[in-house]
Chain length 417, copies 2
Amino acid sequence: MQTSFSDIGQRLAGTSGIQELMDDLGQALNNQPDMRMLGGGQPAAIPAVQALWRERMQSLVNDQTTLDKTLLNYDPPGGNPLFRQNFAAFLKRECQWDVQTENIGILPSSQTAFFLLFNLLAGQTGNTKKRILFPLMPEYIGYASQGLCAGMLSGNPAKIEQRSAHEFKYHVDFDRLRITPDIAALSVSCPTNPTGNVLTQEEFHRLRDLARQHHIPLIIDNAYGHPFPGVIHTSFQPSWEPGMIFSISLSKLGLPGTRTSIVVADPAIIRALSNMNASTALSNGNFGQAIINPLLADDTLLKLSRDIILPFYKQRSDFATQVLHECLQDKIEWSLHSREGAFFLWLWFPKLKITSAELYQRLKARNVLVIPGHYFFYGLDEPWDHSQQCIRLTFSQPEAILREALEIIADELIALH
Amino acid sequence: MQTSFSDIGQRLAGTSGIQELMDDLGQALNNQPDMRMLGGGQPAAIPAVQALWRERMQSLVNDQTTLDKTLLNYDPPGGNPLFRQNFAAFLKRECQWDVQTENIGILPSSQTAFFLLFNLLAGQTGNTKKRILFPLMPEYIGYASQGLCAGMLSGNPAKIEQRSAHEFKYHVDFDRLRITPDIAALSVSCPTNPTGNVLTQEEFHRLRDLARQHHIPLIIDNAYGHPFPGVIHTSFQPSWEPGMIFSISLSKLGLPGTRTSIVVADPAIIRALSNMNASTALSNGNFGQAIINPLLADDTLLKLSRDIILPFYKQRSDFATQVLHECLQDKIEWSLHSREGAFFLWLWFPKLKITSAELYQRLKARNVLVIPGHYFFYGLDEPWDHSQQCIRLTFSQPEAILREALEIIADELIALH
């Protein structure tokens, strides 16, 4: 049977860039077991973190009443009431945010939170068509296919600061940022996936003030950042204020299999998201909340982030950077984005003569998988050469694999230049 | 901040009937702890079933490799490859369905499966607007708010067969069923939530033939039925064939907290749903698949359904029916839908002089919560008096509470007539 798909179906189910890429990655994984995987965004297996989750799971299994509820109950679509209350208390105590239970909503993953948020706030709205504006493009690849209406996601190209021969940093280009009446919200991931960029405190405040002035929400995706897993190497600490929407995730704590995110927002937004979650998913999975709930009573999660997770990724990032410098030296023109957070290296080759897609294919042929950078540039008004000159690498892999992969990348790029 | 919501946002997040009702139920639960809850669709706490899930959880915690993967891995958006393979083998062996791994897709709940399916197949499609047709209305309340386009869900009113003084059954009214070119699919829950109706084998075959003739899918929601939890009291056993879309759920096995559904469909549909799941949720929660996977090797799930779950609900249903007959006798005109499956009694009062919403309020004032029937009638071309004359009761509650509640319902209705 040849079934036709709706316009929205084709948007969400079609072969968007990310889906083609995921298929390609999946094929490579299955058919080339010796592939060096520097592609995915999966958190690393950190022994001390895994030990904590195993211990929590054993406690949950020992506590029959809680286990039974975790398996058998449909909680309300906005999350378990007690968990929401405890999470609000946790944020108030540990982050000094002025939040109540009504400011907290649970959703089945950050990915879902953003899908619902973007389509709640933007798209056809009466006679106007509203847009989400990403003020700092490149941005997370997973947002690109989430709009139910064409053209509802717009990006503002970042301004590039060259800090030294082999280091650059993106900044919000406020001179080009135009908040027209059809902009429904500003949205930034911080630390940014893919670049590892972290907003400066000043940028955050300017974005906050702009959003406030235009009566639109400022959305911050804290998946890699505050308050956990806290993989931020600067002093930046965003503080939630009314009118803002923050998304926090359990995934990068090492629990992506639980599909749990926590949204902090005005009560009207939380109610709307809960209602949307009722329509689209009925309720959340209970395991993430059950695992985390007892840890909200103290600062375990913050200590875990600060003492275990942050140093782990810092060490891996330092190692990868050192190998890169050893291999590339000054042989070609290359630049690494300032390593301010998250799990990635974002590499820029300003003199690259092929597209990033071709570079991806060449590296794949040599058993190294990276993510070509062009997928992270979308919703731009005009083409940008820079978008074809970058790749994203994850450094969660063991050091030996990382070294091999980086040597091959360097070798290929030197040959190409 | 007064944030405006998009048209789609208002559709999904607005105060639809079901969301108002859920709020009302939630309030009642919190403020009236002595409320007799005959409202929800939660599975009952069946000791032998709970024992199995506790045992599986302990085994999972003992198996560190699998536990670590369950917590730490992002599986592909269509589900764990091994689970899909094992589930296909299970269906082939136990149900004799001709399915391969590519026919199996995992999604985070049936609710999500239907949200994605309806919007994949129907809504704006080029220049035409396609619709989902429910051939047997009343239907599941949770579908009603899932359409991203206005008017994309249509219902065909059931034909009523009065079988005896106090028993009736719905049939598909094939004389009124008009499959125009804008119909994208036929969709039936079987057993039907709320009515407990089960299609006859003949109805199923006629629907199959009609769908085939019009080159559209026949969608069957098996949440309460085949192959598990198997709460079907007739001999009906649907067999999946190419072109059909079947949805199977872990929820009514007692695992709603895992949010796991299995869709069986043509590979093109499975691929589209997986891609949609990537866009909207990235991947599934892993616990449901991890708990069930080892049980697919034999007929444990079918035996559990047949020997434990089915008799449990049958006994409760018989008890509730007996109490109803004792209380109502022939004092008023009342009729119960033939009890063919699922967890509900569907009661019809043909001479009711108030709306079902008013009846709901009166019963709530007497600490009995039911679901007023009118929510289950939607997408109809013209008003139907019958839609105001029904209520849905769940019989999962302990017998003492069930008896009290039914006595109050009878008392109120006798007073009203």
